[in-house]
């Protein structure tokens, strides 16, 4: 891919998806072309549920986000822009949900993460548990939050001696999603991450969680061209497939000079 005019870095991308043991693939992935003015956008939406409606919710979220990015004339602040794209996705899926409700049908939604990379920085906004990571110096760091903390509830529980299994709960629950009425819990990076050569950014849906050990993920995803790397990761997930393997999606962005 050609380097951006005002960006000191080049960004190579690769992706892989697997339906798992599900009947439908309800993850939708978007990777834009890198635009020197607008930057590179990567997004994953993971439809909630197992039916066609879940797929449609994820698809609608991504298509709305894509349209907003492609028609954007100027290049606003990175954080403002990712939030706006998430906001547009939320509005379109919510409107669709309301039309479903008016017809007496069940509503649905999607968890989603969106990353914008421009001028050597990465901004991220997310709703729900699509995860983004930075692999740097051989170690991995999750950049976004799965869920925002329900502080009152968790502090009360812990003082009552209930000792909640916080991590297990967090892994299982979706407390916010695109299409949710009254959505408030949107996570975004306080400041876009400043990137450097050899950084690797990963975005993955929940089907990949807990399948690979951290060191194995770093080894498979963190080196070499991102396209084959993403396929290597997914091949290993297939080999380790559990009895109930969710849809799995992965995007890798490699940063170079």
């Amino acid at each position: 891919m050609p380097p951006a005019k005002t960006d000191p870095y080049m960004y190579q991308t690769g992706s892989a998806q697997w339906i798992g043991t599900r009947e439908l693939q309800n993850d939708v992935v978007y990777i834009s072309n890198p635009d020197p003015q607008k930057g590179l956008v990567v997004a994953i939406a993971d439809g909630i549920g197992l039916d066609q409606a879940a797929r449609k919710a994820a698809g609608l979220a991504i298509s709305t986000l894509r349209e907003d990015y492609e028609h954007m004339a100027s290049a606003p602040d990175i954080s403002d822009q990712v939030l706006r794209m998430i906001g547009k996705a939320q509005k379109s899926v919510l409107e669709w949900n309301r039309s479903l409700l008016s017809r007496g049908e069940l509503t649905t939604g999607a968890t989603m993460a969106c990353m914008l990379i421009r001028e050597g920085r990465a901004g991220i906004a997310s709703v729900g548990n699509v995860r983004t990571f930075l692999v740097r110096s051989g170690r991995i760091l999750q950049l976004n939050r799965d869920h925002l903390l329900n502080l009152q509830e968790e502090m009360s529980s812990i003082l009552a001696g209930e000792v909640p299994e916080i991590e297990a709960k967090m892994a299982m629950m979706v407390t916010a999603y695109i299409g949710m009425e009254g959505l408030k819990d949107v996570d975004f990076l306080q400041e876009p991450v400043r990137l450097q050569t050899d950084d690797c950014l990963l975005m993955m849906s929940s089907g990949l969680y807990g399948v690979l050990e951290e060191e194995e993920l770093i080894k498979l995803a963190g080196t070499g061209p991102p396209g084959p790397a993403a396929i290597r990761v997914m091949d290993q997930v297939r080999r380790l497939q559990g009895e109930s393997q969710s849809n799995a999606s992965l995007v890798i962005v490699r940063v170079s000079r």
Binding site: S137, R139, L141, L143, L151, L159, E167, E191
Partner: protein, 257 residues
């Protein structure tokens, strides 16, 4: 055989204020191989009473909670319980609800993995591979406005709200509902550094300056950070405090046969 050793240092300055309302505390480093190491920084909320007393209660409560924790407690449980007890302690010295308060940033490293928790607008950074990553999210009006504008709930003009810096979460707040914490612990290794700091530091130094200082020899980082902050000569310089957790390898003796 080599094990990870966490070396801690801290420095503070009153700035141009009449009182020093920042506090810092840490667990004893000699027990870190058994139970880990905790570092805490707190900043008394401006405009409220008894800021120093509140911030000191916060850091002391966090450390005492750490010492009283059980072997089976996870770092996330320890941090959350400490925050809950700190909230009770600060509320306990109030004559009126919410009349005093303090921020809280805490990082706990155990067996090569770091977990953190934050309430308010103090910050935690990870310095890795020569670059900074801001780990925490602030609880302030600015962040709430950014989400509401992104979701389309408020117009763009709301961004210029003159109360953007007002805290929406602090320890001692009457209805404390917001905090930030790591979704999952992350691995740390030799060369990594964690910096906890109050806004008197990052409100004065640029990201480049903080990054440059974080790359200095371990024993120079904290004092240089504060010296450079004060040297900027800001006539309204706030209290400024930084604590640094440096990860390095400790050579241990080989066991005899």
């Amino acid at each position: 055989m080599s094990e990870l050793l966490i070396r801690m240092s801290a420095d503070t300055n009153i700035g141009k204020r009449e009182d020093q309302e920042d506090s810092v505390n840490a667990s004893r480093p000699e027990i870190q191989q058994d139970v880990g190491v905790l570092c805490v920084v707190s900043d008394g909320v401006g405009g409220l009473k008894n800021g120093k007393e509140a911030s000191q209660l916060v850091v002391d409560t966090m450390v005492s909670t750490f010492y009283k924790s059980s072997i089976g407690d996870t770092p996330e449980q320890i941090l959350l319980r400490g925050a809950a007890l700190a909230q009770e302690a600060v509320r306990g010295i109030q004559k009126k609800p919410g009349e005093c308060g303090a921020t809280l940033v805490a990082a706990l490293i155990r067996q090569g993995r770091c977990s953190f928790l934050s309430i308010g607008d103090s910050r935690i950074y990870l310095y890795r591979g020569g670059s900074l990553v801001l780990l925490t999210r602030s609880q302030n009006r600015a962040r709430r406005l950014d989400v509401q504008i992104g979701l389309g709930y408020m117009p763009e003009g709301a961004r210029t709200d003159n109360k953007r810096d007002a805290l929406t979460g602090y320890v001692g707040m009457e209805k404390l509902s917001q905090a930030d914490r790591s979704s999952h612990s992350f691995s740390v290794g030799p060369g990594d550094r964690i910096a906890l700091m109050t806004d008197g530091v990052f409100g004065t130094l640029t990201e480049d300056e903080i990054t440059e200082i974080m790359g200095l020899p371990e024993e120079e980082v904290a004092c240089t950070m504060i010296d450079r902050t004060v040297e900027k000569g800001n006539p309204y310089q706030d209290n400024c405090t930084v604590a640094v957790m440096d990860c390095t390898l400790a050579e241990t003796e080989e066991g005899g046969s």
